[in-house]
Structures are given as C-alpha cells and as structure tokens.
C-alpha cells in the first residue's frame, strides 16, 4: 500500500477526531448540572461508568416527574461525567473543566486522590462537593461544602463487626489485606482500630500494590497467621477473586469478609463459585432480597445490561447524589451552594434505598452523612443473602 | 556492451549522510571474471561505494546495474538472490552462532541441498583449519579466522559477483597474503570480484583493474599494473 493510499483513511480519522472536539461544552441555562469526576478508564472504569449511568437514571426520573422547582422557576437536571483517571492530577484537570469551564457548581467526585484535588477548588470557590471515598480525611467540619453520599467503612465496619461478633462468638483474631493506595490506607486506618475496639487481635495488616497479578505468596502469608477472620476491606473484585481462590487452594477455613465488596458476580467471575461461598460483603446490595421492590430490581437489571454490573453501593451514589442535590435545592429554594449546604443536613431525599435523612455527627462531627441502611450479606451458592440490615443511627 | 560482459556497472552514483556528501558521481565497470579494486585513504568514501551498490545506503543519484538490470535502491537480500555477495566491512559475523550456522545462513537463498553441501565441502577445502570447528561459536575465532569465515560465508550463496569491503584491515601480514591468494582463487572460479582497500600495495598486486577514490570522487582509473607505475600513486599510496 502506498503512502498516499494510507494517508486518506488516516486523514479521515483525524477529521473525525476534530469533530469529536466540538461535542460537549456548556448546557442550556435552565438545566441544573451535576458534574461527575469519575474513573472512566483503566481498572476503576467499571465503577465510574456505573455511577455515571445511575446519575443519568436519577436525572431522567426527576425530569420525567417535572424537574426541580426553585422559586417558581422549573429546571431540568443533567449529569456531566469526565474521566479523572483516579489520580490527583486527573482530578485537578477535571475539577477545573467542570467548575471553571463548564460553570458547574455541584460535583460528585470518586476516589480519595481526585477528591483531594477537587476539594481544594470547591471549598475555595464555594462549590458543593459530594464525596465518594471510603476515607474520613476529606469529610468533617473543616469542609463545610462537602457531603457524603454513601456508606463508607465508618458506617459499614460497625455493622459487620457487630454481626460477626454475634455469629462467630469464638473468633478472636483478624488478619487484614488492603490495596496500597489512598483508599486502602484510609480504610485500614478506620477498620483496624474498630476491630481492636471490639476486642479482636489484629495479627497482621498487609498492603499490596495496584496492578499486582499474582497473589499466591500473599495468600500463603495470610494463611500462615491462622487467623479466625480474614478481612479484605478494599480489594477490587478481580483481586479479591484471586485472593479467595488462592486461599481456597490453601484450604484456609476462616471467616472471610469483603467490607467494600460491591458485587458478588464481579468477584465470582475471577474466584469461581466455590471460593466465594460463605464470604461476607458489606457494600453489596441484596437486590433480590426482601428489602427491595420490583422497581429497584428493574433498575438493577437494566444496569447489569448496560455496563455489566448490578447496582451496588458505589454506583448507587450517582443516583443518590443527584437526589440529594435536588432535595437540597428544593429545600433551600436556591441554587447557591452555600444555601444548599445549609439546608442539606435537614432534608429528607428519595434515595435509591428509600426516603432518608442526614446524620453522621458522631463519626464526622457534622451531619453530612445520609442515613442509609447497611446490608451485611453473605454469598451462598453465588447468590447474595441478606444476613443483617442495619439502619445507621442519626446521632 | 551487454550485461554479460559487464556483470556490475555503476553509473555516476552520489550518496550523502545527513546532508553531507560522501561520494560524488562515482562510476565503475567490472569486466566479467576480473578483479577490480577501489583504493583510497581513510574516509575517501570506499565503504560508501560498496554500501550503495548493495543497497545498505540509499543513492541520491546515479544507477547501479547488475547483469544489465537496474538494481538501484534494491534491498540487499534481493541482490543476493540475483547473484551478488558481500563481505562487509568489519566482517559482521553472527557472533553468537556457530560456524556451521554462519555458513548455513550464507546459503540462505538456496534450496538445492546437494549443491549447498558440495559448496560447503569446497569452502572447507579452501579453509582446512575451519573443518573441525564447525560447532564453535564464531566469536571464539581469531581476527584472521573470522575474516576467513566472512569470506567463506559469502561464498556459500554461490555468487557470480562478490564485493569485499576492506578485507585485510587489521590483519597480520601473513593473513593478508592468504586473503590475497583467496581473492585470486575466487576469481579463477568464475566470480567477478570488486574489493575496496586501503592497502594499495596488496590491492594493486592482486587486481586487474583499479580505481583511485579521493574525497568521494574517482580521480584515476586504469589497469592495476598501469596505475602502480604512475608517480602519484607510488608517492601517495605505495610509500615509495
């Protein structure tokens, strides 16, 4: 093939790309936009895409129901999702684009590193931040414009530990494994003291690097402690799957917990069914259980078809953030982030889980936490079984 | 004159490296069965002439004809298929491979196994001291032996034209003499030979025809015997 013949399709591709640049940009004035800073590429893409999809779902429902009424004016809502690549630098770029270029005043950000970058802008510029991270460092009275959208280990941990203590009264020792990033470190810092406080001995707490492909040595080391409980708070589904599979091969019997485990099917894809049997999860939604109705199940089914995962704690945040925002705006009767932030702790909103209000002062010092239920689930034969539903208290 | 009488003809080739001219308007004619040499000082462009002919360096202008056909810019492997063989500067053996493998690769283009075996035998008769070292890695050989291997490898493609780039450089006088005899031997077997040399004395002794290259230009051409008699050559190249 000659150079010139090659050049034509390549030029065509270039033209397409230039066309691509013209998409996007500012929306119409009567639309309230929620900016989403999410990982949309790489390993975390599944969470980002799911969250964006659920946000769109909420927006569609709200618009269908007539939109948002602020002092007699009716607004539509929309979600704008950009890729933060799960890094601080990526988060900073996305934050600038959302806040400064698109003029969006409300942002949902996922991942501790991108949130840190986003928060330094939102708090300074007076924008509202919905915080989708497992840690505590970016939540509290120091950040008056930052609100939580989901249950993080601070909420999930006590529920799980309480359940385990009740169910396995003879268990006394714990080993922990976390991914060595901001999320893993922060979660570990919450979970380890919690175990200790509940009277358990934490024999070891290990970290591994993201991108690790082989877990046999780690599993062998985990097994060597012969702990009663193996706690894997922040492992992404494929990593959790590999660890569980290797633990099974080694014949490790203890109680296994994925505190942030969001999806049985995603873990099972890698672990196989038998290795996952009996494992507890803290962030998975027993959508087929008695706590949910047909409407919620339909959304979950649609979600699974759209991006490969059923609804879970993480992607529901896209839905809930939009609902929180709308409830806050309606209560404040203002689009001003400060006014909304003032109103939010007192509102009730239509969460995916049902009608909920705010609390969380005990954990964060301020009421920024929506009081969502925690579901402790156990995987039995590939299915999530409701073991305990704990309503997070409002104190 | 036909391509049969002039197996290799070079017409006014020019070449440059990154814009700096290396050879300028060089023309050569190799008579069939003859030995031709190009002599010149270090940096005169001798190696560039060889590399242009065998397609390793692109020519800016001019033509190379092999057996009457225009082969300018053709890749080296195609030229080998057309009967050209090269002993490159610095030998360029496949150093982490055995002698046998090196010789086999010399015959890469040939599919007639019996003919290849016959040629291998012929080559080993010419280089008897290589015979029991067929499984030795060639990087274990001495410099002179490596040069022999390079020539032997080039013979394995059963060439009709052979180019040698500075075959005697860095070798002991006794080896230089052997190489000289070898070139004569190859020529007598019907192969047309072109070699470039810095050592004008040995080159003019072996060759039938000779060219003198200076700063990328041919400044003299004649029979080797005639050139060896001229005063300039005596003074500049033979150190007499």
């Amino acid at each position: 093939m000659s150079r010139q013949m090659m050049a034509k399709p390549l030029l065509g591709a270039a033209a397409l790309m230039v066309g691509g640049l013209l998409i996007g940009g500012a929306g119409p004035a009567d639309t309230i936009r929620l900016g989403l800073s999410l990982p949309l590429s790489g390993g975390g893409a599944i969470w980002g895409k799911g969250t964006a999809w659920m946000c769109d779902k909420a927006a569609a429902q709200i618009n269908k129901a007539g939109g948002v009424n602020v002092q007699g004016k009716v607004y539509k809502v929309a979600c704008v999702a950009y890729d933060n690549k799960y890094t601080a630098a990526g988060g900073a770029s996305v934050a600038h684009t959302l806040l400064d270029r698109d003029g969006i005043k409300y942002v949902l950000a996922m991942g501790t590193a991108p949130i840190l970058a986003t928060q330094s802008l939102t708090e300074r510029q007076g924008d509202l931040l919905f915080n989708l991270s497992w840690g505590k460092a970016t939540k509290g009275p120091k950040f008056p414009l930052t609100f939580d959208v989901f249950n993080s280990p601070a909420e999930i941990g006590p529920a799980i530990i309480k359940f385990i203590a009740k169910t396995y009264s003879s268990a006394k020792t714990v080993v922990m494994l976390n991914v060595d990033d901001a999320t893993g470190r922060e979660t570990e810092a919450i979970m380890r003291p919690m175990w200790k406080k509940a009277g358990y001995r934490v024999l070891a707490s290990m970290f591994y690097e993201r991108g690790t492909t082989e877990f046999q040595p780690t599993a062998l080391r985990l097994a060597s402690y012969k702990a009663d409980i193996i706690d894997l708070p922040t492992l992404p589904p494929p990593d959790a799957g590999k660890v569980l599979k290797d633990l099974q091969t080694l014949g490790v019997k203890g109680v296994k917990i994925l505190d942030d485990g969001t999806s049985a099917s995603a873990v099972e894809a890698t672990s196989g069914r038998s290795a996952l049997d009996g494992v507890y999860m803290g962030a998975a939604i027993p959508i087929d259980g008695p706590s949910f109705d047909a409407r919620q199940r339909a959304i979950s089914k649609e979600a699974k078809a759209a991006f490969g995962d059923p609804v879970n704690l993480v992607n529901i945040s896209g839905y809930d953030a939009m609902q929180e925002l709308v409830a806050g705006i309606e209560k404040a009767q203002s689009l001003n982030p400060h006014a909304i932030a003032k109103a939010l702790p007192t509102v009730h909103f239509k969460s995916f889980y049902g009608d909920v209000g705010f609390g969380g002062a005990a954990a964060y010092g301020v009421n920024i936490q929506p009081l969502l239920p925690v579901y402790v689930t156990q995987v039995v034969n590939g299915k999530l079984v409701d073991r305990a539903k704990v309503a997070v208290s409002g104190k | 004159m036909t391509g049969d009488d002039i197996p290799l003809q070079v017409d006014g080739i020019c070449a440059s490296y990154q814009g700096v001219p290396a050879i300028d308007n060089v023309s050569l004619r190799l008579r069939r069965g003859s030995i031709t040499t190009v002599i010149g000082a270090n940096g005169a462009g001798k190696s560039t002439v060889i590399k242009c002919i065998c397609g390793l360096v692109p020519t800016d202008r001019g033509k190379v004809r092999l057996f009457g056909q225009d082969v300018t810019g053709m890749p080296p492997d195609e030229l080998v298929r057309r009967g050209l063989s090269v002993v490159p500067e610095g030998r360029r053996l496949f150093s982490d491979m055995t002698l046998r493998e090196n010789l086999e690769l010399g015959a890469y283009t040939r599919s007639d196994a019996t003919a290849v075996a016959r040629d291998l035998e012929r080559v080993l008769t010419l280089f008897p001291d290589l015979r029991d070292r067929m499984s030795t890695m060639v990087n274990r050989f001495s410099g002179g032996q490596q040069q022999m291997v390079a020539v032997a490898r080039a013979m394995m493609s059963a060439p009709r034209v052979m180019l040698l780039d500075e075959p005697t450089i860095g070798l002991a006088p006794v080896i230089v003499e052997r190489i000289g005899n070898l070139i004569g031997e190859i020529s007598r077997s019907g192969v047309t030979v072109l070699f470039v040399e810095q050592n004008a004395e040995i080159a003019l002794e072996i060759a039938d025809d000779a060219y003198i290259l200076e700063s990328g230009k041919v400044i003299a051409e004649d029979t080797a015997a005639n050139l060896a008699q001229t005063d300039e050559v005596k003074k500049a190249y033979l150190g007499v």
Binding site: S41, G42, A45, D83, T87, T97, D100, A113, A182 | -
Partner: protein, 312 residues
Amino acid sequence: MRRRDHIVWLAGGLIAVAATRLFQDAYSISVVNLVFIACLFAASFRFVMLIGEMSFASAAFVGVGAYGAGVATTLLHWPFALAMLVGPVVATLVSIGFGLIVLRIKGPYFMLIGFAFAEAVQIAAAQIQVIGGPSGMVGIFAPRILDAWMQSFVAAVVVTALYLLYRLEWSDFGRLLGAIQNNDNVARTVGVNVLGAKVTCFAVASFMAGLAGSLTAFVNNVIAPSDFGFMLANFALVYVKVGGERSLFGAVAGATVMVLLSSYSIVLGASNELFYGAAIVVTILLMPQGLAGLVEKIRLRLMAPKAVRREA
C-alpha cells in the same frame, strides 16, 4: 548563540509571558499553566535525548520537585522562593547519584531501568506517612500575592528555564552531548570524560524536571504519588516526538498541542483515552518527524520549484 538569538528569545519570552495576561478566567488559566509546565518537562526530557537516551526516571524527578514544594510549604513553612527551589535541588542531587551509577548503561536498558526507578520511587513515596502516604499532600499554595499572577509566574519561570536549556544546547557543552549521542566511544578516545558529561546533562534535565514538579504542586495545590508514575514520562516522550525532537521548539510545540488536545478530550468522558490514543497513533503515522518535520516538508515543497529551476 548569536546576538540575534538572544534578542529573539527576550522578545519571544516577553510576548509569551505578556500573552498569559489575556487569560483571566480560571479554566483558561489552569490550561495555560498545564501547557507551560508540560513544555518545561518535555524540554527536560528532550535534553537527556541529546545524549541519545530516554529517561523515564524523569517522572520521579518531577515527583521529587513536587514533594519538595509540598514539604517546604505545608510542613516546614519555608518562604516561597525556597520552596520552589528545594525540590529541583534535591532532584539534581539524587539524579547525580543515580546517574553516576546507571548512566554507564545505555539504550533500552537505561530506558527500562528508568521505568523501574520511577515505579520504585512512587511506591516508596506512598509508604512515607509524613508526606501523606498514598493520599499525598494538600494545601500547597503560592503566596496570595501571586494569586492573580500565577499563570504569568509559571510562564516566566518556564521561559527562563527553556532559554537556559537552549543556551546550553548551543554551547560547547551541547555540542559535546551531540558528539556523545553520535558515538560515545569516539568522544572517549579524544579524551572527553563521557560519564561526567552525561551525568551533568542528566542533572540539568533533572533540575528542570524538578522545577516542573514544583510548579505542578503550586498549580494543582494537591499532589499524590500516583501523579508521578512512568506514564508521565511516556507523555513527555509523546510531546517531544509529536513536536519533533530535532529542536527545542518542537518539544514546546508538541507539548502545547498535546496538552490542549488532552484538555479538550476531557469532554469526551469515557472515550477520552481512546481519543487520545488515536491522536497519538495518527500523529506518529502521519508525521513521523513531528510537527517540525511537517513544517520542514512544507518549506521544502515551497522552495522546491526554485531548486528545480536552478538545476535546469
């Protein structure tokens, strides 16, 4: 360097810095900052390419620069000027030590050792809790006085750094680096301390990479180890090649084009990676010599008729 070059640099630099005043909205300012920082990093990466090596370790030196600024500002409360320089200085010192050991190694081995170094430094930084571990550091702000002038400050620093790199490249030292790239054995035989020259080159480049890091920290206000993985250096190489590695201006042009492209491609959401990857592929296939090569080609084509006429 000729006298005219100095004047061109002075004028061009002033224009570039003055031009940053045209951007007053926060978004444009953030993109302008990114562009200038990328130009500096690309130029630093290219400076090592003068000795014929690709240094993926540079990503780590950007990180060292950024953390220097972070530690000096948020933990030690040092003055701004010192905070700007401590990172680059540390990066230079580390690079001298690292360079003395590894610059004996060449080509792909040096390149992959750089990968390993960047990864190892990234992991190590995440283990140190004083500097925030994997969460990194927040609240790295320049003095309030600079708030309205940040983009011009960044531009001024970068232009000055580029000017210094340009001067070095066209000095005797720069010519020596070129000789080393062509053949370090020849350079060695004529009595040049090749390793010394390489290490010096590497140290200069690392200082500039560190400077890019300091600027990054003050522009983003937040840094984390994951920002300084080898992908950062991958992109520097992309900038240099897209622009054309033969001149410093190629690196600058490449960085500008690619950062603008990447800023725009954010709006593509999930397709941004696909788009950016396609942009790289298309560019390298259509312009193997980069933008500079393209400009050269156009120039030659415009001049070609004249040349033909002369020949006729």
